[in-house]
Symmetry: C2
Subunit: 373 residues, 2 copies
């Protein structure tokens, strides 16, 4: 493979191992894995899941649902508060796949029930601690109102309660993640118990990569929806969800300038490639990627003395040790594990496997190819 | 116009005023305006510049140069250290447009001279204070070596010195910006004087939006290359480059959930739409956009009581005053001026004018349409 511009490399073997590990964990726990496809957004990567028996998926937008529906997926959850402005596309999707939507407000479910022409599964988003969105488990007024509404719906089929423990992303302590997870399962069980006489088959769904990666026992729910684990990244490594060796994507960036007086290397690779997502190091420095080296079989473990300290639109600044500085020349490639693989993949709009195969990402798919089939 | 998903609105009148103001300022200063097109990356917005007499442009990648060359631009500077890995595309471009490249290292210019099959203009990037890349003006050893090399080049035609005062972005004091600008002009003049006996027609080029917007007198250089001014954003407002009323782009985002207990509204609009670029407020809060309201003729000045305080991949969290909270309902649109219009436009991959016209952005143009013409 000949790389001339910033390119997102994908190590298929690492990716397959990551997928397999999660599939096996779900099997051991006797729960469904409904992986979140917002991280890879790739029809081809989706096939690797299908090959391992995955049939139900999660996405974060109606557009993403349509993309994967067009690629043969039949059981799709849009794990984002239903956007009632997209009723037409929702109806088109509901006509051909088992579509799951989530809601937080009565106004939303009223508009859905009114606007839908095909049945969809509806989940209540519970806020079990993240405080982004969802209904608090003790907010019985709002919960009762929704449940009551669902009892008389023609189009909305109440399926269960769903939570996302995004606050695990701020932890780096396994015990803290265990406590967050246990709290969520406990609260979801309370919700199930409260409403099981009216809806006997209530499902419970959770799904953040840290909990699903770190914890062995995931019982107490019916379904997990992790997403980032397909690639992982250095944020997940720091949390403890993975080792550096599990990170399955890596940016390749050309060296375009060298500054010997300050041991800084300028790469072609900036915020329009990596994203502006940043890890703050203990020494107060910003970190936009962890330097590795290309090997015969992929890339190495992190290399000492290569810090990606700054990004502007197209430039990255690498602060190097003298030894590392001397290794790289104008026109060489440098390699960095990304801080946040979801955002980097979205910006890069595609992948190149180590075998040189190009894989697509939804963000690189022309909109006119996204029309209704 | 009917908006159902996050959409980047473009106020053509504001944009035209911004362009006209800069064209007139360049004329008054008797210098060339070579606007940086990396902010809009749009063929159609490019035409608005052309209508006002602009013929020479700046871009930040070879791919962007090709896009605008395909749209009839004939004088293009790639204001990014030349990436010698892209020699084939550089040669293709050099065969059909007046191409300007920039260099920092001898290795780069040696590789260019060796690999080029058509002449290109070459500029030395001087570091006049930003410390991203460029040669320090007192680094006579490296400068002399480059100049000497250029004296014997067949393909590289030395054009002059170029600087980018990116450190003005960290200022909010006109006097500081004036000092930065004066320093750059002074240093570039020193460089010109040092080498004018060997190259009598040395050109000087600068270009950051704060200096070019705020300062009236831009004499002492031959050319300015501001880019962001075409749209501006709230970062530039804070610097003092523009007023809120000059900001020509605005995100429209559907309301998907409401949390009355904490007066927070969840919008469909996250880091894959706005970018993760953030302004830190004096109270320590993060700010990802400034709330405005739609009016008959566009959008209003900033509205009190609407803070976009957090972004995840697709969600934005708006902290609202009670009054603002009550105004918005599920399925309404909310409107935010972006922190950094360049990154937002890159992610949004296109624009909708207030008249409902769709304008393209290079990042939404399929790669197969980008082949050599």
């Amino acid at each position: 493979m000949r790389i001339t511009i910033p390119t997102l490399l994908l190590d298929k073997n690492k990716c397959l191992s990551n997928i397999r590990r999660m599939v096996e964990k779900a099997d051991r726990n006797k729960i469904q894995l409904r992986p979140h496809f917002k991280t890879h957004q790739s029809a081809q990567v989706g096939e690797w899941f299908r090959d391992l028996g995955v049939e139900a998926i999660t996405v974060s937008s109606v557009q993403m649902a349509r993309y994967f529906a067009n690629h043969g997926w039949k059981d799709i959850m849009v794990a984002f508060p239903a956007n009632v402005l997209e009723m037409d596309v929702i109806n088109e999707l509901a006509s051909r796949v088992k579509l799951h939507l989530i809601a937080v407000n009565l106004e939303t479910v009223e508009a859905l029930e009114e606007g839908l022409s095909h049945p969809v599964k509806i989940w209540i988003k519970a806020d079990t601690g993240y405080r982004r969105t969802g209904i608090l488990p003790h907010n019985h007024v709002d919960l009762d109102r929704l449940i009551e509404f669902f009892e008389n719906c023609k189009m909305l089929r109440f399926e269960g309660f769903l939570a996302h423990d995004g606050h695990t992303y701020k932890q780096s302590d396994t015990a803290a993640i265990q406590t967050i997870h246990n709290t969520s399962v406990y609260l979801l069980q309370l919700l199930k118990n409260r409403y099981k006489s009216r809806f006997p088959h209530i499902q419970l769904s959770i799904g953040d990569t840290p909990s699903c990666s770190i914890l062995e026992n995931l019982s107490g729910v019916d379904e997990i929806r992790p997403g980032n684990f397909v690639f992982y990244d250095i944020t997940q490594q720091r949390i403890g969800s993975c080792s550096y060796d599990d990170v399955a994507v890596c940016m390749a960036c050309p060296v375009v300038a060298k500054h010997p007086r300050r041991n800084e290397i300028i790469i072609y690779g900036g915020s329009v490639h990596f994203s502006k997502d940043v890890l703050m190091l203990e020494n107060g420095n910003a970190n936009y990627g962890v330097g590795v080296e290309l090997t015969n079989s992929g890339w190495s473990s992190p290399v000492e003395g290569l810090e990606l300290v700054s990004l502007s639109q197209e430039h990255g600044i690498v602060r190097a040790s003298r030894e590392q500085f001397e290794k790289y020349h104008i026109g060489d490639l440098m390699f960095f594990l990304p801080v946040h693989s979801c955002l980097t993949a979205d910006l890069m709009k595609g992948y190149m496997t180590l075998e040189g195969e190009r894989l697509e990402h939804l963000s690189g798919v022309p909109m006119n190819e996204m029309k209704v089939y």
